[in-house]
């Protein structure tokens, strides 16, 4: 018997997670928690029971209650999210195991057992003090990054960009005269670059930020439009590798969102050659408090597509 199957007496306190089909190829599922909405200490204790001893210890090493809570919610989100996707049977979020790939990217460690086909599920998480998000895809790797819209840098933006971004990106940012718009475009660019590197999963040293460029491109005219002027829903986001400028890194699709009115979120996923390059990627977004409430927010004001061709 597959011991990972859901047992009725797993925990009387937990209602079962609402089961879900895996995302289809070229579809992204995005789940997010707003920590400020999770105040019930009994619920937090229940989340804590889902964690491995190692994860609980990591949580305890965070400095201060807010960071501890954030770390706890991040692990609870990952575990409950993955456990929702039924394949052979409902998974117990507590029994999931994780490991890091060669470069440190977290992944699920599926145990090899007879009659169990691990789902081809990929995930990536990101968090800020006000939101924790988990993106899920099938077949292809995914990277996500979220950042508060109001995030300010300590360093001067152009100095920072000159140090870390590609020359083209520096040019784009420098051309923006309004400092507030410049700051916003910087944050957007940062999240996109982060999401790309996280999607690649080879660590930051393998793909230094300077070695690739993120461009917003109007697909109808194939001309570059500076971000502040015409980022319409039709604009595509392209990643170009400076290692080989003649062959843009067309393997990767990026999308930029505004989430919950408060955050920029970038999603980067590898194109699925089998599913068809031209199939527009789909996105479904849920706001969740695991075991309490899941609200599908795609197509509402909570999720605005700022760039990249993606359907909700």
């Amino acid at each position: 018997m597959n011991i990972r199957c859901f047992q009725r007496n797993f925990s009387a306190a937990f209602p079962p997670l609402v089961p879900l089909q895996l995302p289809s190829p070229m579809e992204t599922h995005l789940w997010y928690i707003l920590p400020d909405e999770v105040k019930n200490s009994a619920l937090l204790n229940q989340y804590s029971e889902l964690l491995s001893p190692c994860e609980r210890e990591s949580v305890s090493r965070m400095r201060g209650d807010q960071l501890k809570k954030r770390a706890l919610l991040a692990r609870a989100l990952v575990r409950t999210t993955i456990a929702r996707y039924q394949t052979n049977c409902q998974m117990n979020p507590r029994s999931l195991r994780f490991r890091k790939n060669l470069y440190g990217k977290p992944e699920v460690e599926w145990r090899n057992e007879d009659n169990f086909n691990p789902p081809p599920l990929h995930f990536n998480i990101s968090h800020t003090s006000a939101m924790i998000a988990c993106g899920v895809t099938v077949n292809v790797p995914i990277g996500i990054d979220i950042e508060e819209k109001q995030r300010r840098t300590k360093n001067n933006i152009i100095a920072f960009a000159q140090r870390y971004f590609s020359p083209y990106e520096v040019k784009v940012l420098t051309a923006i005269s309004d400092p507030e718009v410049q700051r916003q475009e910087f944050i957007k660019l940062w999240t996109l670059k982060e999401a790309y590197v996280k999607a690649l999963g080879k660590g930051f040293s393998a793909v230094p930020f300077k070695t690739f460029t993120i461009r917003f491109r109007d697909t109808t005219m194939r001309n570059f439009h500076p971000p502040e002027s015409s980022v319409s829903e039709e604009s595509d986001i392209v990643v170009e590798s400076s290692e080989d400028p003649t062959d843009p890194a067309n393997n990767w699709r990026c999308a930029l969102l505004e989430v919950a009115g408060s955050h920029y979120g970038a999603i980067c996923m590898e194109k699925d050659r089998i599913a068809g390059e031209n199939a527009p990627p789909k996105l479904t977004v849920w706001k969740t408090v695991p075991f309490v409430e899941d609200v599908c927010v795609s197509g509402t004001d909570a999720v605005l597509v700022l760039g990249g061709i993606i359907e909700q």
């Binding site: 090493r61 965070m62 400095r63 201060g64 807010q66 960071l67 968090h127 800020t128 003090s129 950042e147 995030r151 840098t153 300590k154 360093n155 920072f160 140090r163 870390y164 940062w190 982060e194 660590g203 930051f204 040293s205 230094p208």
Partner: protein, 139 residues
């Protein structure tokens, strides 16, 4: 940290030889004098490189505090992990940039990726400065 000043009132020099220290002057040594002197010599070298590192560690702590807007009460020390203090990747990159400016060094992505504690940062700074200066420490 060994308090070598207890044993040697004269300033340490690079050509320190244990024969310069009269055995009689070392009254607090418990174990065999030879072993203690060896330990003393090593620990004095240790102290010199430690002192430089302590100052570096303090500066790194200061930069980290500022970046993460930590209160003066929150303790930041060598073994503090950036992530445990609440630093995300943007914070870490900003911290590295702050360290580059403060110490006049340039940090490669490979090295930056391996920094997870204050001590890691201080050690890297130490190494980069040594490489820059081409100077050897005490023999």
């Amino acid at each position: 940290m060994a308090s070598f000043t207890l044993f040697n009132p004269t300033p340490l020099s690079t050509s320190f030889k244990h024969t310069q220290v009269p055995l009689i002057g070392i009254s607090n040594v418990k174990s065999g004098s030879f072993a203690s002197l060896t330990m003393y010599r090593r620990s004095s070298q240790f102290c010199i490189s430690c002192a430089a590192k302590a100052e570096t560690v303090d500066k790194v702590c200061e930069i980290v505090r500022k970046q993460l807007a930590l209160s003066d009460e929150s303790s930041v020390s060598g073994d503090s992990k950036f992530s445990a203090l609440g630093a995300d990747s943007l914070d870490t990159v900003e911290i590295v940039m702050g360290l580059e400016e403060e110490f006049g060094i340039s940090v490669e992505e490979e090295s930056a990726q391996s920094i997870s504690t204050v001590q890691d940062a201080a050690d890297l700074i130490q190494k980069l400065k040594e490489d820059n200066n081409g100077a050897a420490y005490l023999e």
